[in-house]
């Protein structure tokens, strides 16, 4: 059997190596348009910044090494230019020499990846993308002697490049047309990321796209100009489907290659994997584009399994992702609140700000965690986290619970590894479960940060149960201050009547305790979810 694989990075190379391990006799040819296979895509920004010092560290494999280890016939600098499906042949062209060759196949695996989005902005040809080793070389050359950079795009790669250019000592601006970076997170969660970027000296330009890329600067939609010796395009990617479309392979509603649960295209001899294909969303089963390495690798593996007769159905995706930025960990899995709201789906939002590990042990930092839950079933719909440590762990645990179909209250019961350096006896994930129990059972009613002003306008009274010092340092307009520890002695100060009371503290724990004192009053008493911290992050006040 002869298997030809187009694309030699994550999905393609996973398929090739796995197939060899399953089938010693298969003939396996891999063609890769760029000069490198199996390179460390996710490390490219860090080589630009000098964090990964050696270029060689990015190059995980060579064609020779892959031949020696796996008897793979790997050809770099070779592009697939045409697929003759009827004769099961793919025509490949040597990029340098133009020489063409026809490779026959029994099975063809397409792993072409995605291409950087390069919108038709005047001057866009000066903008540098960062998708492969050649891009990295070009960017490293461009930044030599350069002083200013504009990074267009506030997604994962944009943030990583911005940090790394800063690390090189450049003056960096990041321009994002949306009002926030990191679209997978909701705005109130991203607020500390914006703060950290500004504090580090990044000129953060939100809500205003680039209209012109000039020779030495960039002009924004709001008319501002930002100096830019170097311009980086990190606007996003789109599936590289040209060859496949030209061969009559079907594309799905989101513009990615359409594949079935075996990763087969509409041609039963052609598989497709990775960033080029559409996946199924784990929550809605909708077609989605999730260009992440973990899924690409798994798909490559499953294709090899399928070819070897050991297939398993593709797993749906949740888009679990993380970025390290300026000492912060920013991660998410599943749907965010924006997406749930847009889809008209009912949800309960939970915000907490627990410590990354026991507060009595040195070095603990405050995390921001958000959990989105189906109010009827307790199903976990999504999670987000931002903090200096332990975010990766909590998001991974929640992603695992989601995959396993655990409900949010079941997080309360998880028996996680505790020592004071690593967590708390009631871990942050357990706390999310406790809150979900309280909310889903209806025992604790809550309001969200964006509902406070409206509830106040309708007559609700906000009681800030923090200390007078905390209150003085910044408070919700109109809130009265009665510290939780004095509440039971100062009940007569609470406005009478049956207007609802909104209790809040810094993060929601003291106000949760305070609720008990007022539960039997017969009036509506609400806990402000996530406390003053979430309210302030959301309102920006």
């Amino acid at each position: 059997m002869r298997v030809v694989i187009v694309g030699g990075v994550a999905g393609g190379m996973s398929a090739a190596a796995r197939l060899r391990r399953l089938d010693e006799s298969a003939e396996i040819v891999v063609v890769e348009k760029s000069g490198y296979v199996s390179f460390a895509n996710c490390g490219l920004p860090y080589h630009v910044g000098g964090v990964i010092e050696e270029r060689s560290a990015l190059l995980l494999q060579t064609p020779q090494a892959l031949y020696d280890r796996f008897r793979l016939d790997v050809r770099v600098g070779v592009e697939a230019v045409q697929i003759n499906r009827q004769s099961r042949e793919v025509i490949v062209r040597d990029v340098a020499t133009g020489r063409e060759e026809t490779l026959s196949y029994d099975k063809l695996v397409l792993s072409p990846g995605a291409k950087p989005l390069m919108p038709p902005i005047p001057g866009i040809e000066r903008a540098l993308p960062l998708r492969n080793v050649e891009d990295t070389d070009r960017m490293l050359e461009a930044v030599q002697g350069a002083e200013t950079a504009v990074v267009i795009g506030g997604g994962f790669v944009g943030l990583e490049v911005a940090e790394n250019l800063l690390h090189r000592g450049m003056k960096v601006a990041l321009v994002e047309a949306l009002p926030q970076v990191m679209a997978p997170l909701d705005p109130e969660m991203v607020d500390p990321v914006h703060d950290a970027m500004r504090a580090a000296g990044i000129d953060l330009r939100l809500g205003s796209g680039v209209t012109i890329i000039g020779e030495h600067d960039v002009t924004l939609a709001d008319g501002a100009t930002v100096p830019a010796d170097v311009v980086v395009a990190a606007i996003g990617v789109r599936p590289d489907t040209e060859l496949a479309k030209a061969s009559g392979l079907k594309v799905g509603p989101r513009g990615g290659l359409l594949v079935d649960h075996r990763q087969l295209t509409n041609d039963p001899h052609i598989y497709a994997v990775g960033d080029a294909v559409e996946k199924n969303d784990a929550l809605s089963d909708e077609a989605v584009l999730v260009p992440l390495a973990n899924t690409a690798n798994l798909q490559g593996r499953r294709v090899a399994d399928d070819i070897a007769g050991r297939g398993k159905p593709a797993r749906p995706v949740r888009g679990t992702a993380i970025v390290g930025l300026l000492g912060l960990q920013v991660a998410a899995t599943g749907w965010n609140e924006k997406r749930l709201r847009d889809a008209g789906r009912a949800y309960l939002a939970i915000h907490t700000h627990p410590a990354s590990h026991a507060t009595y042990y040195p070095g603990a930092s405050t995390m921001a965690l958000k959990l989105l839950v189906d109010p009827a079933t307790g199903e976990i719909l999504g999670a987000q986290g931002v903090g200096r440590e332990g975010i990766d762990k909590r998001i991974d645990v929640i992603a695992t619970a989601m995959t396993a179909g655990m409900t949010a209250p079941e997080l309360a019961e998880l028996e996680l590894a505790y020592a004071p350096q690593f967590g708390s006896a009631k871990d942050a994930v357990n706390m999310l479960g406790f809150i979900a129990e309280n909310r889903l059972s209806g025992w604790e009613k809550s309001v969200q940060w964006h509902e406070v002003a409206e509830r106040q306008a309708e007559g609700a009274v906000v009681i800030d149960v923090r200390t007078p010092g905390e209150y003085a340092a910044g408070a919700i307009p109109g809130a009265m201050n009665i510290p939780v520890d004095e509440l039971r002695d100062r009940m007569d100060e609470i406005p009478g009547g049956d207007v609802p009371l909104i209790l809040h503290c810094g993060v929601g724990i003291r106000s949760h305790a305070a609720l008990a004192a007022l539960r039997d009053s017969g009036r509506e008493v609400l806990n402000l979810d996530g406390g003053y911290t979430t309210w302030r992050a959301g309102t920006g006040i």
Copy 2:
């Protein structure tokens, strides 16, 4: 309703605070024998070592603060001395004055905790336990000016105390009667812990208990004497059941208080929680003693829920635990191989040594991970990990998967958060799933480190597929060396006949690739699980 709680640390105080939040009108009295409630038990060793500098950091709550916040009547230095179950009264005694008082109750919650084991070794009265704040004060006094210490017991607390005394600049010996520290882990997993302890200068004495504690030294069963200005007893704990037993409450097969799924003792008005009670093992449903804070806290919460009419059944325990030691993270969940073997339960063991994060990003370190799997069902029976970073995360993810009933091959499909600082595109947990798939499907056959010598004696040939340099630096006796990348060209060097071949490399990945070249040979080809690394850790050769 009047609820009396005996014991004001993890389980007891969780019950008290939760009950107040559920029921404003309940009268809640907490009596605590020691001088402190809600102290940070797990932080005590670190205060001894000066890592937690301020003693006040250990004291999370005071009786006054608990009154102010929760209207709890907390009495420290007060011991419960008698329970009159018929009249529902508990007699308490002020430790300092001897004054007694009778407290009536509607519900009584016993959270007496555990007592340090103090075996009747001559001189044991000089050995200092470390269970509460008073113990900590005594130990801090004892180490002033002291130069040498012997810590008896290689469990969690023993290791933490040893590290902290070392941190104070003392010369420390650790004595453990078993041949290894950290009994929850199997011996080959603990080997790097032993190495780290010795490298740090701890005089590690394994397999030889203490027979005499002298005035200035300690004598071991093997006759050795070890200087000891200070002796620490960290031998283990036993449930503190005296009061309960005297009151006719039942004790279970393991010596802990017997409770039902509501945490009720055999008296329907008396609950018991925490280290004093027996739990149900999640795998076997057997009674077990697992003195860990996470479970104690959850039990306290569930008792409050039950009293308030919102009960949920107790969750079984897996004993998920971690210790930080000399820069290592050492963690485990579920059953270990020793326990499975002793119980006669079938299992498959998987050892891997993946990187904590992408190897191309600075700072990655090698982890040792072990997964124990039911060979028939794929059920995950247990997991262990040792490494410098990322162990807590992997054990927590696996513990979550176990709780949710995921099988080992399902770990392959987990979509975990990947960026090069935090993991790999194929995360270590995914890799465990891949290996489980390969093994459970019968596609890859393996041998364990402890089976190699016997298989060799029966004729099996060991082929080390590492590089000649690695082979020269240390190899399995009798192994021949054919590097994986030369294997297909050197097939004629492999001894003929049908004797089984055992392939191995450093950790099992290259030999997994090498297996493919020999799969069609018709002979038995086995991969040495965990490679030379696990073999060496296990054999000590």
